[in-house]
Amino acid sequence: MLVRRARTWLPGLLLVTPSIVLIGVFVYGMLGWNFRLAMTDKHDEVSEGKFVGLRNFIDIWDQPRWHLSVNHAIVFTVAFVVGALLLGWLLAFLMEKGIRGEGTFRAIYLFPMAISFVATGIVWRWLMNSGTGERAVGLNRLFDWIGLPQWQWFRDPDWGMAAMAIPAIWQMSGYVMALFLAGFRGVPEELREAARVDGCTEWGVYRHVVLPLLRPVTLSALIILGHISLKVFDLIVAVSGKQIITDVPAVFMWVAVFDSHDPAKGATIASYIVLSVAIFVIPYLIWSVRKERRS
């Protein structure tokens, strides 16, 4: 009897076991190891490291650089998420109105996502070069040519991190567009018709019918963009290197591990990054599990 029942679930289990084991070791095991390391005083590579509880997590708030990098991450996240959502929505909205050669445009807008952040960063490093006047290259040269003021871009002390979000917006807004476009297309035509019959204006149809139905798509987009943003590293390093003017927690972590040779500090920062991403991802997981159950 048992053998008979095993036949139904055992093959499936065996099929997924390798990936469960690998993910268990290399994702969750490593996460656990990282949290344990963050709770020790292993501040160089040779010492043993004793358990110190949450002291590293508290101490790091005494460091001016930590405050700076957290602030930068917040500015970057706000600029990137809002920018990509708005631009992606706008592109999807225009496409939805129906244009010729939609497939081509879709491919063009989606294409940047296929490029790695490092490649994007290297191109935008040139585009956002802070040289002005005679030395201007990239966007500053263009701005000079059409009579717009030239910018310091990511070197600007106040707006630098917002400028740093521009390449990220460029890269991800096409993907957001694809999400929204699918969302738009998912709204049944009958609903729109019904609203029109009830005397809704075209704007009203969007305002009261389409946008509310886009809420789940917006939420997914928000979560995807949010977690990319909090752990951003490659783009920043490719554009500006490891300079403090564009420091974010992930860059700080690299410096702590490879330059300062302080594993415990690096692990502490890594833990904070994981926790901040979890704030985005866990509510989403709960929400999607609940939704699955409901349907």
Partner: protein
């Protein structure tokens, strides 16, 4: 039953292949030379460096040629990792060392930068090689003293660079009414003001590390050689009024700096192009100014650009040195020692240095090979007092440098001299040994 079996076998095969990927994957495996070597009896020597740029890569090739002539049994395996000051190379090296798969020999800045590796027990003591080759007689005594750790020496310096050089544009200076290169920090500040009045950029700077480079020069120029060198001894007082004065001058000088450029080259180019008057950078800038286009600017020395010791540092050679080491557990230890012998030899150093744009660490080098700026440098090297560079790993170890870089980076944003001094003092307290 048959389907059941098929499923099991598929999952086992996939598990095995995944494990195989995990074991053999990663970029490192493909980079390290085959252990048994594909080329028959010839054994490979893996030489790890960050010399991939113009000039430096040519120098490495020149040494490689000599090495292969002298050692027909060995082939040279170039494991160079690209990237300016060796950032990426050092990170990869660290993971190799931690995995106990060191290259046979690797490049590092001589001095405190190697301390971390020494403390972690990664390096072999090379005193035996110094005795065998009588290297203590050919390297300057003060150099040997500054690279020794507890009486032992762990690296062979192949070249010497100077970091306290003031580069300037003679035409811009003349236009501003500055007759000669400034000799003191106060003169320097006065000259910066004169250039500013003419509407040119008084001092060009690059990315953040070039500001740390400027700081080490101002510290040395303001405090003098002995006080500067004493800063790196355990218990040194970074809160002294002397340091405060130096940092205030540094803040004043920084207030004349132009917009930061992407790296040191565009900043140096501003001087060559006559947009900026001064730039403080190591003598690798000479190669950039002087070399023909494709890698250089093709400028004429003394007319298009000129040099002097950084203000207040005349008579002192602030040095840094690239050197090679012998990691413990090197696969081909004998090959690595053969390489170190070439790196230490007069022939090897004279092949390498004119191409790299640096001077040899040996006192008995062929002087006729070093012309123009390098002749000046060689003369000063044999007569000057020595001070160790901060930014380039002589005076401070890597964690200490990271802490100084952080304090300087925060200063660029805040302009807060007090916080800078506190940051530097904390960095010294945590790291001096």
């Amino acid at each position: 039953m048959r389907r059941w079996l098929a499923t099991v076998s598929i999952s086992i095969v996939s598990a095995l292949s995944l494990v195989a990927c995990g074991g053999g994957g990663g970029g490192q495996a493909s980079q390290s030379p085959a252990a048994s070597g594909g080329g028959g009896e010839k054994k490979q020597v893996e030489v790890f460096s960050w010399w991939t740029g113009p000039g430096e890569a040519d120098g490495l090739q020149a040494m490689k040629k000599i090495f292969e002539q002298q050692n027909p049994n060995y082939t040279f395996f170039d494991a160079a990792v690209a990237g300016g000051s060796g950032d990426k190379a050092k990170a990869l090296l660290q993971s190799k060392l931690q995995a106990n798969t060191p290259p046979d020999t690797f490049q590092g800045h001589a001095g405190a930068e190697l301390q971390g590796y020494i403390k972690a027990g990664n390096l072999e003591d090379l005193t035996f090689l110094y005795d065998e080759l009588k290297l203590k007689d050919v390297f300057p005594a003060q150099l040997v003293e500054q690279i020794s750790v507890d009486g032992k020496i762990y690296s062979v310096p192949v070249n010497i660079h100077r970091s306290n050089v003031l580069w300037f544009n003679p035409a811009v200076l003349k236009d501003a009414g500055v007759a000669a290169a400034p000799k003191t920090i106060d003169e320097f500040i006065a000259d910066l003001e004169k250039v500013k009045a003419k509407g040119k950029i008084p001092l060009s700077i690059g990315s953040e590390w070039t500001v740390t480079h400027l700081l080490e020069n101002v510290l040395l120029g303001s405090m003098g050689t002995d006080a500067y060198n004493a800063l790196f001894k355990p218990g040194a007082d970074w809160n002294s009024p002397q340091v405060t004065k130096a940092l205030e001058s540094f803040a004043k000088i920084m207030s004349y700096a132009g917009d930061p450029q992407d790296d040191w080259q565009p900043a140096a180019k501003q001087v060559a192009d006559g947009e900026a008057a001064f730039n403080i950078m190591g003598d690798w800038a000479y190669g950039y100014f002087h070399n023909p286009p494709e890698g250089g600017l093709g400028k004429k020395s003394k007319t298009d650009f000129d040099w002097a010791p950084a203000p207040g540092t005349e008579g002192t050679y602030m040095w840094l040195s690239d050197s090679f080491t012998l990691p413990k557990g090197a696969k081909n230890r004998d090959g690595a020692i053969a390489w170190l012998k070439v790196a230490a030899s007069k022939e090897g150093q004279d092949a390498f240095n004119p191409k790299k744009g640096s001077i040899p660490a040996r006192k008995d080098a062929d002087q006729s090979l070093y012309t123009d700026y390098l002749a000046d440098a060689l003369k000063d090297w044999s007569s000057n007092k020595l001070a160790g560079s901060i930014q380039h790993g002589v005076s401070v170890n890597q964690p200490w440098l990271a802490a100084i870089t952080e304090a300087v980076g925060l200063f660029i944003g805040s302009k807060d001299v007090k916080a800078l001094q506190q940051g530097l003092a904390d960095a010294a307290k945590a790291n001096a040994q």
